[in-house]
Amino acid sequence: MHIEIDEIAKEFGATTALKPVSLAIPSGALVALLGPSGSGKTTLLRILGGLEFPTSGRVLFDGQDATGMTVQERRAGFVFQSYALFKHMTVFENIAYGLRARPRATRPPEAEIQRRVSKLLDLIQLPQIATRFPSQLSGGQRQRVALARALAIEPRMLLLDEPFGALDAQVRKELRQGLREIHDTTGLTTVFVTHDQDEAMELADLVVVMSMGRIEQVGRPQDIRARPATAFVRQFIEA
């Protein structure tokens, strides 16, 4: 799905999180929102997911205005930094959650839910953990379960907030590859937020460098490396 951000601004009381920013994300791209904390990248992601409402500006999905759409209507697969797994549900119940939450008319039959969940468990390469609870999983496993749960609703796009932030270096490397593979298999337009420039450069097709609520530069990793547009970008990618 093609996403267009049209002059989006966001204020929280007196503080400005986003100055008006515009950005076009081509369908099927894997995009990194890269910047230090406080740069507005998470706010932008949350606006795309419908978790925040912009102070001004519009969001367009495939050319249609989606600004006023509720979270539920957007069907954006969202992976939270803390993963936000449901602690009292098994892995299976977590992944099946979005399907079971549908109104009866569009809810798949139980056998279909079973089939889909086990397919997703295969996709994240954790076929054995369906009956475990989140507290019994490692950090890397939790992240992959959160990803599978987001994919179960057949999302129109995938939004990830610091998906590797809470993991140690070794696991982080493995899971980067995992995300790339899942993106390539599903072909979903994917946006992830990160403060780690290596991660953004290695993984993304398109990197959006942000600072102080502003987009500093948009480009392919190699272009940003070769021709940083501003002093901030140069400094940030060299750090």
Binding site: G50, L51, E52, F53, Q64, D65, A66, G68, M69, T70, V71, E73, R75, R102, T106, P108, E112, R116, K119, L120, L123, L151, E154, R156, T186
Partner: protein
């Protein structure tokens, strides 16, 4: 998985704002309003109305009649007795609470969980059963009680019994407020003071006590309110002797049963005011010293 057999049809949003946008973690304004109304109305009927009745009945024949009823010998002796009982049992419980919390939080020993369970036990025992247990132990028919009566020191149907009953029902109050606060604060400050050469008593007075004083006051307040208001346990052990072992709550019962409505409700209003004062002070403490008291709520 990405076959479209069960694909939900894409919802096409209509242009503009159909309904005002609302965060995903909030209920709709209508639901909010209904829930707030139910909460406020429920609390008004269940809690505020009984409180209001106490004052309305006390003042039913005017403030003069109410004040005059407090000057009756029965009322005066009840007030004196209740103050005396609280004056003994609250300090006793404060000392116990500090000692127990100190022992439990500053040292590691086997059986700690069991000790805490024993301290909490009075919360799960009916006050009437507590009074019964005291009567069985100290009553004139018992071994200890019989001997004490022979020595001219009766416990049951006398002041010591009332104090014991009051201490029993308020037993866990102070320790319970202190333990979570002291766990949270750890032992390092005391250990630092010890390495600086302070004596044990000095460490307690200059390091521990300032750190727990608001929690201690909080516990003492709750303990005092309960000690002054205890009815069931005291009813059993006191013998309800008018002018001698009738505390304020017991006197309220007697007056009420004798249809002395104004007198009963005036005495009740005094206790209710004490309860309100306790609540106000407690709220003020929670507000001002949230940092120290937050541990209590979490445990």
């Amino acid at each position: 998985m990405f076959d479209s057999s069960f694909q939900e049809p894409l919802l096409t949003p209509t242009e503009g704002n159909r309904h005002p946008w609302r965060p995903a973690t909030e209920e709709s304004p209508l639901v909010r309003r209904i829930l707030i109304a139910v909460a406020v109305l429920g609390l008004a009927v269940l809690v505020v109305a009984p409180l209001g009745v106490v004052f309305a009945e006390a003042l039913a024949k005017g403030a003069g009649a109410a004040i005059a009823s407090l000057a009756s010998p029965d009322a005066l002796s009840a007030i004196k007795l209740t103050l005396l009982v609280a004056g003994i049992s609250v300090p006793v419980n404060a000392v116990f609470g500090v000692a127990a919390a100190w022992t439990i939080t500053k040292f590691d020993f086997r059986g700690k969980a069991f000790l805490i369970t024993l301290i909490d036990l009075p919360f799960s025992i009916s006050p009437v059963v507590a009074g019964l247990a005291l009567v069985l132990l100290f009553g004139a028919n018992s071994l200890i009680g019989g001997w004490l009566v022979a020595q001219g020191f009766p416990i049951i149907f006398a002041l010591p019994g009332i104090v014991l009953a009051s201490v029993f029902v308020t037993f866990p109050f102070v320790a319970r407020e202190l333990i979570p606060v002291m766990i949270e604060q750890g032992r390092t400050e005391e250990e630092a003071a010890l390495t600086l050469g302070a004596s044990g008593w000095r460490v307690f007075r200059t390091v521990t006590l300032p750190n727990i004083k608001w929690a201690l006051l909080y516990g003492v307040l709750l303990c005092n309110a309960r000690a002054m208001g205890e009815f069931g346990a005291v009813a059993v052990v006191s013998g309800k002797i008018r002018g001698q072992t009738a505390t304020m709550p017991i006197t309220i019962e007697m007056m009420y049963n004798e249809y002395l409505s104004v007198a009963a409700f005036t005495l009740a209003a005094v206790l209710a005011l004490l309860g309100l004062l306790t609540l106000a002070l407690k709220t003020l403490l929670e507000w001002r010293h949230a940092d120290q008291l937050s541990a209590i709520r979490r445990h």
